[in-house]
């Protein structure tokens, strides 16, 4: 592989400015707008006109071959803007965004499809749009069509396809590019479950090929599986950069290294929470010890202490219990500790253990306690959602026993 075919991504001091609101879309609005702009005031400190904002602020990162960068963050954080800079659709306002090599983008995979053209015609069109030479498309045509699973309809106009079929065909074209740089955006939710598995496997294959990869996804699990590093964005800024797990935890609010400040106005305050292990096997027991204090003025409100387990890959609350459920009434003065034993019957992954004091009368959190993360590894392997700590026993049957119906003893 020659040097110029090695993909490389580098953002150095990248800023991107956007307008919101009135973009003068008509010629007759343009002239008054220009006049306003000439006499208008400018906010010197930020370098912004009225109605402008920074979508990206001072972004610095690089992705070298073999690395996969996951970008996470809430809506409006600037993820899509980064993708548009990566694919050369937009240019930064300040700074430089260097992307070397042919960019393969698994973004809006059916963007170039025309409804009146047949599947076959669209494969060639879409391939050309993505920068594939015609010869290469011809060579891989059968492979592309077979992957999409729409062989029977390849000579039918795409407008008669279901949206799933269109997306599958589009994904197949994009997935058969041989890019120097790969950019992936939320395309892993294409088609039905079996196609999604196939697509995910294909993406993993592409990611493993020694090229720089950037993945943007709200499916945090995909980031964990695919990426070697990650970046958490918020309103155009990098809030956190590090391993995917670190960033996901920071995103979900449970940052182990930098604990969330505890706060609340309830009678019970939580001083700390410690867990027995940070790494354990699926099905093992985890002990969480919560240290609490009752404020000096004592308390009359019946508060309870809650502890919950949240999946770090998608933020879903998997389990929550409280001292009320467990039949414990809390002391009304002094300091105390509470220990919770949790059987971690969950799939492998990162989980967030969080605790809070709960005001039963008001039905709200009266004190948000610290949260910490625990890494659950494969214990006894299993498929599915819940570890049931299955045990199996084998017993041999002799011919004399059992008769017609074999019985397990």
């Amino acid at each position: 592989m020659s040097d110029q075919h090695t993909g490389f991504i580098e953002f150095a001091g990248v800023w991107k400015k956007f307008h919101y609101g009135e973009v003068h879309n008509r010629l007759r609005d343009a002239i008054p707008a220009l006049a306003r702009r000439l006499v208008g005031r400018r906010d010197k400190s930020e370098g912004l006109w009225h109605g402008e904002f920074w979508a990206l602020r001072d972004l610095n990162f690089s992705v070298t071959p073999g690395q996969a960068l996951g970008i996470i963050g809430p809506n409006g954080a600037g993820k899509s803007t980064i993708l548009k800079l990566l694919t050369h659709i937009m240019q930064p306002t300040h700074g430089t965004s260097t992307v070397r090599g042919r960019v393969g983008a698994l973004i809006e995979v059916a963007a170039g499809f025309h409804p009146d053209l047949t599947g076959k015609e669209n494969v060639f069109l879409q391939g050309a749009i993505m920068g594939m030479p015609r010869r290469e498309i011809s060579r891989r045509f059968d492979e592309i069509v077979a992957f999409s699973g729409v062989e029977a309809f390849i000579d039918t106009p795409v407008k008669r396809y279901s949206s799933g079929m269109q997306a599958r065909l589009g994904f197949s074209v994009a997935a058969h590019l041989d890019p120097d740089v790969l950019v992936i955006d939320e395309v892993l939710a294409v088609g039905d479950a079996s196609f999604q598995r196939k697509a995910f496997a294909r993406v993993q294959e592409l990611v493993r090929g020694e090229i720089p990869v950037v993945v943007v996804s709200h499916q945090l699990e995909a980031i964990t599986t695919l990426c070697t590093k990650a970046m958490l964005l918020d309103r155009g800024r990098v809030v956190r950069a590090g391993t995917p797990d670190e960033c996901i935890l920071a995103y979900l609010g449970g940052d182990a290294a930098k604990p969330v400040p505890t706060s609340g106005d309830g009678a019970i305050s939580i001083e700390s929470m410690t867990i027995s292990n940070t790494v354990l096997n699926s099905g093992q027991q985890l002990r969480a010890t919560v240290k609490c204090a009752v404020k000096e003025d004592g308390w009359t409100d019946p508060e309870t202490l809650r502890i919950g387990v949240r999946s770090a890959s998608d933020g879903e609350l998997l389990f929550e219990t409280s001292t009320e459920h467990l039949g414990i009434s809390l002391p009304t003065s002094g300091r105390f500790t509470l220990t919770f034993d949790l059987q971690m019957n969950v799939q492998r992954g990162i989980y967030l253990i969080e605790c809070c004091a709960w005001d039963r009368i008001m039905g709200r959190k009266s004190f948000t306690g610290p949260a910490t993360n625990v890494d659950v590894r494969d214990g006894t392997m299993f498929d599915g959602v819940v570890q049931l700590n299955a045990r199996a026993q084998l017993a041999f049957l002799t011919l004399s026993e059992g008769g017609d119906v074999p019985r397990l003893s």
Binding site: R26, D116, L125, I129
Partner: protein, 309 residues
């Protein structure tokens, strides 16, 4: 020693990056560099240009009753409209319309139909391909250019119809064909230039297409298609000659139908200057200059397309 407020301010300054000062816009490549980049990109993406053109042709002729006949119909309607006007004028002054006049009308109609069709498709080319422009990178020039090429195919079909009809009526001078070829290339360049500017404007200002519609529907009155250049006397001929389309269409008529050698000037009986080689130079300057300028403008603006479309 720092006060709390100063510490706070420093902390804020560190966490809130400020944008670098506006640097002078010296980063834009030179005009020649831009042109070279566009040329390189179009060559590099010639396969996509081909696919986009094929796509437009397929869409145009798929699921249409008349198919390729559409390519002939538009110029035919222009010819009919022109013929009606000519017959009306001829009957007023009490003479008949010669086949040679209709031949000239047909040649110019094909040219005009190309200009109108290409400008219409070219103007809409960016906004009609919205998902592509906002989602996928490729040189944006390909969209208006492929609209031009699609229209070229249409016009070639129309021209072939003329190539069959002309000998049947004993019209046409083969010696004019090289001139027609040259003029066609200039017409293509000029149309591309106008279409690129219009496509660009249409992205930023959605009423630009109304302006283009005005040109395509009423421009025929300011371009000698229905009439010939000498119809309005010497001043009229001079005024109409300012329209860069005039020499291109009139030249094709003179070379192909009248059999005039375009290296020689031609002055009508009324004293109107119908043709000089200067006309050709004038039109060529518009076509080439316009193409260069519009290419640079288009490329400079194309970085903002995705934000505005």
């Amino acid at each position: 020693m720092m006060t709390d407020a100063a510490l706070e301010a420093e902390k804020k300054a560190r966490s809130e990056p400020t944008p670098p000062p506006q640097q002078a816009k010296s980063t834009a490549p030179s005009a020649i560099r831009t042109l070279a980049n566009v040329a390189r990109d179009v060559v590099r993406y010639h396969e996509l240009l081909y696919e986009l053109t094929i796509r437009d042709l397929r869409i145009r002729y798929k699921q249409s009753v008349m198919g390729v006949l559409w390519a002939v119909l538009t110029p035919l309607v222009v010819v009919l409209a022109g013929a009606i006007i000519r017959f009306a004028f001829a009957s007023l002054v009490g003479r008949t319309v010669a086949p040679i006049e209709l031949g000239g009308l047909a040649v110019k109609s094909i040219g005009w139909a190309f200009f109108v069709g290409a400008l219409g498709f070219g103007t809409a080319s960016l906004t009609a391909n919205l998902p592509l422009v906002t989602k996928v990178y490729f040189p944006r020039e390909l969209l208006p250019i492929s609209a031009m090429l699609t229209q070229v195919v249409d016009s070639v079909v129309g021209a072939m119809a003329l190539a069959v009809l002309f000998p049947l009526y004993g019209l046409g001078h083969a010696s004019g064909l090289p001139w027609v070829l040259l003029l066609s290339v200039l017409l293509l360049a000029l149309t591309t230039a106008v279409a690129m500017m219009a496509a660009c404007a249409n992205v930023f200002y959605r009423d630009a297409k109304h302006l283009v519609q005005l040109v395509t529907s009423f421009g025929i009155f300011f371009t000698p298609v229905f009439f010939d250049l000498d119809a309005f006397g010497p001043e009229g001929a001079y005024t109409f000659s300012l329209n860069p389309l005039t020499p291109l269409l009139e030249g094709a008529r003179l070379a192909l139908v009248t059999g005039h050698d375009l290296r020689e000037p031609l002055i009508s009986a009324s004293g109107a200057v119908v043709w000089t080689p200067g006309h050709l130079v004038y039109a060529a300057a518009w076509a080439v200059g316009g193409l260069l300028v519009s290419t640079i403008v288009f490329r400079r603006a194309s970085g903002k397309f995705a934000e505005y479309v």
